[in-house]
């Protein structure tokens, strides 16, 4: 009991700090980033920097928990004025429910990645520091600092600096292994992200030119007082949205994401896919729901939702065609980003369900995707490759890792009781409730396509020719496997979270009934009949996919490997579809074509926003 008091009392004191509490998550990673280059040496068996980072991450988790507790129990957003200067002159920090969720999510995922990476990025015995270890740990801190600043900042320019901190930290992580392909992927990412930043900054400049403030609360007050949006604000909203879309890699601006996320080392891929793209998405939410609430015209919402639906269908279909596991997962991220943008067409009349579903998708996808990328990393390390066709038999080598991969996959598909299931139920309910049934259909089809590529992977794992070595080249560490499994279980069990916790979404947001929306949507959503209703289409898909597997012909001439493979009927369909889709994807990901899409989107958004002005 003493021990419990020892732990609880400081935590309670922490939550009583009020706004000052927000300085901790803002500054903790920054201090870590600054101290990291000084921590050279061979203490702790070469793991000094890693352990130091882990310690900070634990402290960060405690701070994030404290923020979430304070926000939830206080039922109002925490605010802090840096330097004691009030906006518009000074800069404010604010943690509403959304910030608290994002802070907590990033603390959990980065902590898991930190545990996973201990082994991979420790300093070998013959050195006091290596390139990979210093770069990885420092930039992990940098990403964390950028994320927290983006979640807490209330000033459009501070948010710009936060985004740049995030980009500069994320890009070198992509090229960490130094091969030409990853360097090219990193450069592509950097240049496209910089284009996004500069468009965002231009939008901020126009806001300042119109209202002489960059503070989100003040801007919201002044904009809501306008009879009609001034032209500068219309331009600013379009520029900022498109700039942030480029950084979020929403289809068709996804040119940089697959090579960058697939080429990075697995722990870095996990961070990039789970968190980094979400930061720019979070700022899009801030823009449309906090800076200019009510300015979201139906046309704008339809454009964003249409792109989201396109991302779901296109990303999932292209994922189905990938020969390498990490690229498959990266394309799955392209698709999963799409779900986030379904919020916009749904928010007009079902804001509670849409926002809650969207935030749930952010969390569920982050946990599941981080688990999947790290599981794929363990598979690649153990087998020496990550070709889907050659995964046969690896379940004997890596049972736990594949279990985690599969559990994370269940959340992506949206099977109960996972977070993905809850997301899809909420969004489908909102779609039906607002008379946009086609969005519900897209969600269902997206789930089936996700199931298809996961069946594709597991079909090869379970039924493929056992071509993998009986002993792994590099066996995974026990802690690594467990942390991956923990993340996957987190994603899977997210649906069982007590509904009262969903009240966190609505803190600091008037007129939102998050837990009520959840309760309505979930009434009768758990149950055997419902489960069967969800499962049988998946079984059909599973059969189709198994029919698609290239079953090996009899080994000719005693050769251990099949000489040819024959395609089944569904395999031919898939091949035909592939010849259509892959050139389309390659075409869309050409730099000038993506640029053209960006410009068209910019002008279309400006036109759409002005329809309501």
């Amino acid at each position: 009991m003493d021990l419990a008091a020892l732990l609880v009392t400081p935590f309670a004191r922490l939550t009583e700090l009020g706004g000052l509490l927000l300085v901790i998550p803002l500054m903790l990673p920054v201090v870590g980033l600054l101290l990291a280059p000084l921590l050279r040496g061979r203490w702790l068996g070469g793991g000094l920097l890693g352990r130091f980072t882990l310690l900070l991450l634990l402290l960060g988790l405690v701070a994030a928990l404290a923020v979430a507790t304070a926000v939830l129990t206080g039922d109002e957003a925490l605010k802090y004025y840096l330097g004691g200067w009030l906006p518009p002159l000074g800069v404010a920090l604010k943690a509403d429910g959304l910030s608290a969720i994002m802070l907590l999510l990033s603390a959990v995922v980065i902590l898991a990645v930190g545990v996973y990476a201990q082994r991979e990025f420790q300093v070998p015995p013959d050195a006091s520091e290596t390139r990979a270890s210093l770069v990885f740990w420092m930039l992990l801190m940098g990403v964390w600092a950028g994320l927290n600043a983006a979640f807490l900042g209330q000033d459009l320019f501070t948010l710009f600096v936060a985004l740049e901190l995030l980009t500069f930290s994320a890009v070198p992580l992509v090229a960490l292994d130094g091969r030409a392909e990853t360097l090219a992927a990193a450069l592509r990412y950097l240049l496209f992200a910089l284009l996004g930043s500069v468009l965002y900054l231009l939008g901020a400049v126009l806001f300042y030119g119109t209202y002489a403030t960059l503070d989100i609360t003040l801007l919201a007050e002044r904009i809501s007082g306008e009879p009609a949006l001034p032209p500068a604000v219309i331009a600013a909203a379009a520029l900022m949205t498109v700039g942030l879309l480029a950084k979020t890699a929403l289809f068709p601006l996804h040119l940089w994401l697959p090579p960058a996320h697939a080429g990075a080392p697995p722990p870095a891929s996990a961070i990039l896919s789970a968190l980094v793209v979400k930061a720019s998405f979070f700022l899009i939410l801030r823009l449309w729901f906090d800076v200019m609430p009510g300015a979201l015209t139906p046309m704008t919402a339809q454009i964003l939702g249409g792109l989201g639906a396109g991302a779901i269908l296109f990303g999932n279909l292209v994922a189905l065609r990938q020969a390498r596991l990490k690229l498959l997962i990266a394309y799955s991220t392209v698709a999963q980003i799409g779900y986030l943008f379904l919020i916009f067409p749904l928010a007009a009349r079902a804001e509670s369900a849409a926002l809650t579903g969207g935030m749930l998708q952010v969390v569920a996808h982050a946990l599941a995707k981080a688990a999947m990328f790290m599981a794929a990393g363990l598979i690649a390390k153990a087998l020496g490759h990550d070709r889907v066709r050659d995964l046969g038999g690896c379940v004997r080598v890596l049972p736990l890792t594949l279990l985690a991969f599969g559990l994370a996959g269940l959340s992506l598909i949206g099977l109960q009781p996972s977070g993905g299931y809850l997301t899809k139920t909420l969004l489908t309910a909102a779609a039906d409730g607002t008379g946009q049934g086609w969005l519900g259909l897209v969600i269902q089809v997206g789930g089936l396509l996700t199931a298809a590529y996961l069946f594709w992977v597991f079909g090869h794992v379970l039924f493929g020719v056992p071509s993998t070595p009986a002993m792994p080249i590099k066996p995974p560490g026990r802690a690594q496997e467990l942390v991956v499994l923990a993340l996957a279980l987190g994603a899977l069990l997210l649906g069982l979270v007590p509904p009262a916790l969903f009240d966190l979404v609505e803190v600091g947001r008037a007129g939102l009934e998050a837990s009520a929306a959840v309760a309505t949507a979930m009434a009768g959503a758990f149950g055997w009949s419902k489960l069967w209703g969800d499962v049988w289409p998946l079984l059909v898909v599973g059969l189709l996919v198994l029919g698609m597997l290239p079953w090996p012909d009899r080994p000719a001439g005693g050769s251990p490997r099949p000489a040819t493979t024959s395609l089944s009927v569904t395999g031919h369909w898939a091949a035909d579809l592939g010849t259509l889709l892959e050139p389309a994807d390659r075409g869309l990901r050409q730099w000038p074509v993506a640029g053209l899409s960006l410009l068209i989107l910019l002008l279309a958004l400006a036109a759409a926003i002005s329809t309501g002005a």
Binding site: E164, D177, G178, E181, V205, A212, G263, I473
Partner: protein, 126 residues
């Protein structure tokens, strides 16, 4: 048309020119240059906004040249742009050294990093 507006239009033109260069120039170095042009167009617009904001006060006899807030932010932005340029240049030079490529077109999907492949890297990755 007063002077700041002239430079404001100049900034708008710079943004358009830079966008064209960033999207149509194949070479990465040219894209970096174009990014800097867009950035400087944006800063110029901000500078114009700063001067307009100050002009009102100067007319009222407060004797301030321009709004200092945008000016401070432009300085911060210039430093950030320099940092961005230096990372891009470092990545590009290394890319050219390792593969002879200086453009971003026709990229092949990267294979994930693998222990076996790493060992064969020319610079002895371990």
């Amino acid at each position: 048309m007063n002077d700041p507006t002239l430079f404001g239009l100049c900034g708008a033109a710079l943004v358009g020119l830079g966008l064209y260069g960033l999207l149509c120039q194949p070479g990465a170095l040219r894209k970096i240059l174009a990014f800097n042009l867009i950035g400087s167009g944006v800063f110029l617009l901000f500078g114009v906004i700063a001067l307009r904001g100050g002009g009102v006060l100067a007319a009222a006899g407060r004797g301030i040249d321009g709004d200092p807030v945008p000016q401070a932010l432009i300085i911060t932005g210039l430093v950030v742009a320099f940092a961005a340029t230096s990372i891009a240049v470092a990545l590009l030079l290394r890319l050219a050294e390792t593969s002879g490529r200086t453009t971003l077109e026709n990229e092949a999907p990267p294979a994930p990093s693998l222990p076996g492949e790493r060992a064969s890297r020319p610079d002895g990755e371990s």
